[in-house]
Symmetry: C2
Subunit: 551 residues, 2 copies
């Protein structure tokens, strides 16, 4: 185990060496590197040196001398190197659980769906329930709902429970109905319908709307091993999209324990900036203040996620004026002004950060006012976050430039929401909608994310939207409200350095600068030059986290 | 930060050195060392070498060559060195919370008590409630209960709530009663009494039995900082008693998070073998199996604590025959046989250990039967633990020698319980009571602990009882059922190596042998030679955990 004899001189020499950083520095040379630097400028570089701890030691420009003391030298072959992308707003476990469901959305016939279910069941013998989603009997040309018997012929040893594409119906096999105790005696619940066999009260297998709850209530909670599998899957998806760090918006104690299990086993490969799902959870997890950075900057709970309103699509977002397409409502506030301020104070008192979901202009207005009111008491570097900030009263836009507010926005929502937002707000109230450039103009900070699994975890698609306001078909031509596009430099910052800053991670990761973690990608094209369409097709060639190649 | 230039040769030399353990080995020489060795024998040694990770590298005997490659050498000055004591059954947070209460048990007058309350309130300005215990108006010669007004004169800015020495009454100030909303309108609850002012219905300040709940219900849950303070206090108490590792019998998620906060901040100084308070908590904390050893062997959740019965004192322990002093009862089982086996199976299925509280002979009988039944299914190294194992049917004693069962027993309970146990069981049913030597004789493993805060965290007092079966007054002369004393060697094993083994910590700590952690004490006398009375007075001179001096 140990060198048998050692002169004092050798010990002294060793001690001297031990005082310097660990060995195994690596030079990655001949790269077409792009990063945000210490001053917030986007710069180009050609070589990167990182140390054994996975921290950047040097960023080298063309013509700079290369160090002669490194232990490994890699040739970047002239490829484009970017900092790892950071998703400033996602739901890590949701990404994983979503991906572990059986996805039937691409099936075009009942037979095709049954074959896919069969294969999935065989591939997953350990899963006590087969859960899935995405089927559509219309697309199958079936002219009726599928039946439990059709499922039973494929899987009868355990329950199967599959949600329809629109989320308004689910399809069970007999094992699932037995587990739920659903029989011919069950009446249709209010707001729901049990599809019955022809000429009988016998449930046929499909449960509509409120009737889904009859089975949902017996679907088991995920086991710890399911959670571990979901986290592993989420990390795989994030890394394959070039995302090396993510803000988890709504961490439960179960989520946190899953993150820690991965961390304890050295299996946490994506950095997670965690925001607790509520105040009690925040206190339970982090205690009297934010946790330290754990596992070499892989995990930290720094704050709380609050919901002030719902979404525009379901008309839950709260608006100053009635919905254009449903004038009797202005949305549904989820917190009173007093509750919001109490929760923000409780967090701020213990130096936790608050990230407040605010979508409608009335929600954003109240958040801005609350921050204004609390900033006198809770001074210092607070980085108040507004999540989504989708509809801002133009008259209040300038408030985003005060108190270091961060607008945590999701470019892909803009393309997904466009026509819906126009319907909800009408054509005259779109001035402060998804107003990225306006936020920057008043001095606000932008952090970009995906809201995955609501949108895909695709930062390059987000980047393309950010600079174009067009969707994957290039629509609308010239971009939707194109004055709100941002520059490529701003998009890069919002998906890297500023997404890190928004999570108090500056100094830890987000930029390829000395002292921060060597999280970087090799990609096959240059996002600062390629067309938005081309950027969407970016191929991610390599993914490195903390100086270790992950893909 | 880094050496500027370095030849390839130097790098190669450095790499070669880096392959050996880190530097800074320490020799502690000239000690009168005692430990259990690899073979379970108690041995003597005179020198100890440990490495920079805090692991023992060598144990040196008189006459062995001393290594010449160590970086530090300390002179033990001939003092007695012992392995750190291990408490195989305690309640870590309970020790800390108990110690943070204001203790009035040594007060002999109302004035003295009020002075102590005053000092405590001034020393603890941040505590929202002043909580305490131990007062006794009889000892004060008061001839009546104390009043809220007397407390108000000392502390009126926040609630004060002090439990009587017997736990059957508590004393509030006006702030506490106001917080609880208790007024003259409140009636005495069933099983309780509100002491009233003379000639009035106005509450006077003292609440008896069931009436205590009126105020208890508003006593706030501990805040995270209170939990952190309690853990710090518990560690201080344990270390000051020479206890360097402890099995925490009933860890809640809040407890666990407190342990982790300390671990994350490098403030976990006592090693904790954690047993979850219930199955859901075990799953939430540890997931699909025991956690790894965390923080350099400082923390691991390895199993679950179950309660099969209550205690002998309250006649909750379940007996095969009726209580001698209350023939209408045999105690109260807390789990049915089926529940016990289900819970044990659930744990064992995921390789968790079970530690089952069993005090009465009927409880021990059922645990032994359950282990017998489950051992066929759950094979391998299970280390089934029976906690307390106080009253064993002599006919079943031999079962403790099977299936690797561990009897986790607390010597101090024997002295505390002696007269009570005689009353509960009668003179003819004491043969299997606190039957330490019998357990060893049949081949069972003994692990000793304190059950603190129920008993003091005093392993040396436990050691003295283990070898004498006499209390601190040397009573009864010759020891109670003295055939059940154990040898000094057995007592040392049960408080060190075997207490570690009982927590699956062998190979990590518990013995001063190469590869285990260098957890050791210097004490002022030799427990293998001193009288039981002298052992109780052992002074702990130094406490080292993982090669670092803690006291």
């Amino acid at each position: 185990m140990r060198f048998a004899s050692c002169t004092l001189t050798a010990i002294a020499a060793y001690a001297a060496l031990a005082a310097v950083p660990a060995a195994a520095d690596t030079l990655v040379d001949n790269v077409d590197g792009i990063t945000v630097d210490q001053d917030g400028e986007v710069i180009r570089f050609t070589g990167l040196v990182f140390d054994d701890e996975g921290k950047v030691r040097d960023v080298l420009m063309r013509g700079d001398d290369r160090p002669d003391d490194v232990d490994f030298a890699l040739d970047g072959k002239g490829r484009v190197m970017l900092p790892g992308m950071i998703d400033a707003h996602a739901h890590v476990m949701g990404i994983g659980f979503g991906a572990l469901l059986l996805d039937l959305s691409d099936t075009t016939s009942l037979e095709g769906a049954l074959a896919k279910i069969d294969a999935f069941a065989k591939d997953n013998p350990g899963r006590p329930w087969i859960l899935g989603r995405g089927w559509n009997q219309e697309k199958w040309g079936l002219g009726r709902f599928p039946t439990a018997e059709e499922l039973d012929a494929i899987v009868s040893d355990r329950p199967v429970w599959l949600q329809r594409v629109d989320g308004h119906a689910s399809w069970a096999n007999t094992a699932a109905m037995e587990r739920a105790g659903v029989t011919a005696a069950d009446k249709d619940p209010v707001g729901g319908r049990i599809i019955r066999k022809a000429g009988s009260r016998e449930p046929a297998g499909v449960f509509v709307d409120a009737a889904e709850a009859l089975v949902n209530k017996v679907v088991p909670e995920p086991r710890p091993e399911d959670r571990d599998a979901a986290l592993a899957k989420a990390q795989e998806i994030l890394l394959s999209n070039g995302i090396t760090a993510v803000a988890d918006m709504g961490t439960s104690i179960e989520d946190w324990q899953t993150f820690r299990r991965a961390g304890d086993l050295g299996a946490l490969n994506v950095r997670i900036m965690s925001y607790a799902t509520d105040g009690d959870t925040m206190e339970l997890i982090a205690g009297p203040g934010p946790t330290p950075w754990l596992y070499e900057d892989k995990l930290r709970m720094g704050g709380i996620k609050l919901y002030l309103d719902g979404a525009l699509g379901s008309r839950g977002a709260i608006l100053k004026q009635p919905y254009a397409d449903e004038p009797q409502t202005r949305g549904l506030p989820l917190l009173t002004p007093a509750q919001l301020r109490n929760l923000m104070s409780r967090a701020a008192l213990d130096n936790f950060q608050t990230a407040i979901h605010a979508i409608g202009d009335a929600a954003n207005s109240d958040v801005l006012l609350a921050i204004e009111e609390l900033s006198g008491t809770y001074t210092g570097d607070r980085r108040w976050r507004v999540e989504h900030a989708q509809i801002i009263d133009p008259a209040e836009l300038a408030e985003f430039g005060k108190h270091g507010i961060i607008a945590s926005m999701q470019p892909l929502h803009q393309t997904s929401d466009r026509t819906m937002a126009e319907a909800r707000l009408g054509p005259d109230r779109l001035d402060g909608a998804y107003a990225w450039r306006s936020v920057l103009k008043v001095g606000g900070k932008l952090a970009f994310g995906s809201d995955a699994p609501v949108e895909p975890t695709d930062a390059f698609a987000g980047f393309a939207v950010a600079i174009s306001r067009t969707d994957s078909d290039g629509q609308p031509f010239g971009g939707w409200l194109p004055s709100e596009t941002v520059s490529r430099e701003a998009a890069l910052k919002a998906f890297t350095a500023d997404a890190a800053y928004a999570g108090f991670a500056d100094g830890h990761f987000g930029r390829l600068i000395p002292g921060e973690r060597a999280d970087f990608l090799f990609v096959d094209r240059d996002p600062m030059l390629a067309s938005p369409t081309a950027i969407r097709d970016t191929r991610i060639l390599e993914v490195w986290v903390g100086g270790k190649r992950m893909r």
